[in-house]
């Protein structure tokens, strides 16, 4: 269940929009594909690329992106599944050691699909030295994925959205926009561009996108007592950029720019602030 369990076949430049020195270079690797399944891997890779290409604002900026596909053969198909969700235990000898039920903080999480990220980075850099970011597609129909230094997703129909969300974190520095019970939010104004504690329209970091008619804060979570959020008398206009309570895994006292966003709910459009950050990042990679 390691690099001894397969080999790297080679690399193909799948999307060629220009020299690697000037483009944003995305690398895709696969895990859990046997030699006879590489054609399937190529289809899965293309599906992911198509999904990314059709997701705004990547759709508008795709001319600045190169995509490489690294073909990797594993001895066995699929991924490890220790059976933490009650299913049968499956062990698969794969090159990047993909496994569901990865352990975090002493708990096995059935949908937490991880691979050997250091090995993915190493193989990616060896074959595409000017790589900016890597995604690993795992040959399993079970829903799962993870983020970190790379994005990992299975071939479940909805799993590609995990990789795009995680790309938002690692490649574009975006934070989560969903709430939760997390108490471990660091003190201070968040460094990330799409979350804030500041509801003052004169100083808020995305104030340029806030209309004068939009109340600030824009929406409070009624369950939050003592967060300091004062609810506006009227609900905000639909799709207004403002400050909506709940972000960074915390329900109270931290704010996101819009009701809905890919960084809050997978598959939704990126909010205007996140889309702006992605667009601004990829602008420097566009052909002149």
């Amino acid at each position: 269940m390691s690099a001894n369990d397969g080999h790297v076949v080679g690399v193909v430049k799948l999307v060629d929009n220009g020299p690697d020195t000037e483009r944003w270079n995305l690398v895709i690797v696969g895990d859990g594909y046997q030699e006879g399944e590489l054609a399937q891997y190529h289809v899965h890779t293309q599906h992911f690329v198509d999904r990314l290409r059709s997701t705004a604002p990547f759709s508008e900026e795709f001319g600045g992106i190169n995509v490489y596909r690294i073909d990797v053969v594993s001895l066995e198909s699929g991924a490890d599944d220790p059976g933490c969700a009650g299913g049968p235990v499956v062990i698969a000898k794969t090159y990047f050691d993909a496994t569901f039920c990865s352990s975090f903080h002493g708990e096995m999480l059935d949908r937490l699909l991880t691979v050997d990220e250091a090995l993915v980075l190493s193989v990616s850099n060896d074959h595409v030295p000017r790589k900016h970011y890597a995604v690993c597609i795992v040959n399993s129909p079970t829903y799962g994925g993870s983020g970190g230094s790379i994005a990992t997703c299975s071939v479940h129909a909805q799993s590609a959205t995990i990789a795009i969300h995680e790309l938002g974190h690692t490649a574009f520095g975006l934070d989560d926009e969903y709430g939760g019970n997390e108490d471990d939010i660091p003190p201070g104004e968040p460094a990330k561009p799409n979350v804030t504690r500041d509801t003052n329209r004169a100083t808020n970091k995305w104030r340029a996108l806030v209309a004068a008619s939009t109340p600030m804060p824009t929406q409070c979570n009624p369950a939050c007592v003592g967060s300091g959020c004062v609810a506006p008398p009227a609900p905000p206009p639909p799709a207004a950029v403002g400050t909506y309570e709940g972000a960074m895994g915390k329900d109270c006292g931290v704010y996101r720019p819009m009701m809905s966003c890919y960084m809050r709910e997978l598959g939704r459009p990126f909010c205007l602030v996140c889309a702006g950050v992605i667009r601004e990042t990829l602008q420097d990679f566009q052909p002149q």
Binding site: D20, T21, E22, W24, N25, S102, F104, H105, G106, E107, L109, R111, L112, E117, A118, N125, P129, R130, H132, Y143, G144, G145, S146, G147, G148, S149, Q158, H165, H169, T170, A171, G173, D175, D176, Y178, G180, E182, D183, D184, I185, P186, P187, G188, E189, P190, A191, K192, P193, K205, G249, R264, E265, L266, G276, V277, E280, T281, Q283, D284, F285
Partner: protein, 139 residues
Amino acid sequence: MPSRRTLRLTFRSSSGGIEMLSVERLQMTTPPQPGERPQAGKYGGYWFELRGEAGDVLAYRVIGVSVLNSVVVHSPEGSPQRLFGESRNIVFEVLLPDIDSARTATLVGNPIEPGERVSKPSADLATFELFPPPQGENR
């Protein structure tokens, strides 16, 4: 003008701390860092600062907390959930512009103490000398 020369710094994070594994100098475009530049003490989170001889900040890169002490569990039925815990054992990369006057890369952020909440203001956490690199290569 975007920088066409990039430093790729590779780190290993674990409960024992963070070590720099390599520095690579690459002929490739450095992604810009949108947003306000965070300042220690005022901002929360984690970022690397590329500093010159006098400690002046030449560039910075905000990094995700997910590389340090949390994971996201996704669900096809609804919103993801972020779980925090002890420091992860992970290798991660940071891209910064390759500027001749750069001397160090400093990780700035809120101290993570084992078993404690992240409650202290952000400060310099670790500084790494860039040259000569610990290992790595020119590409």
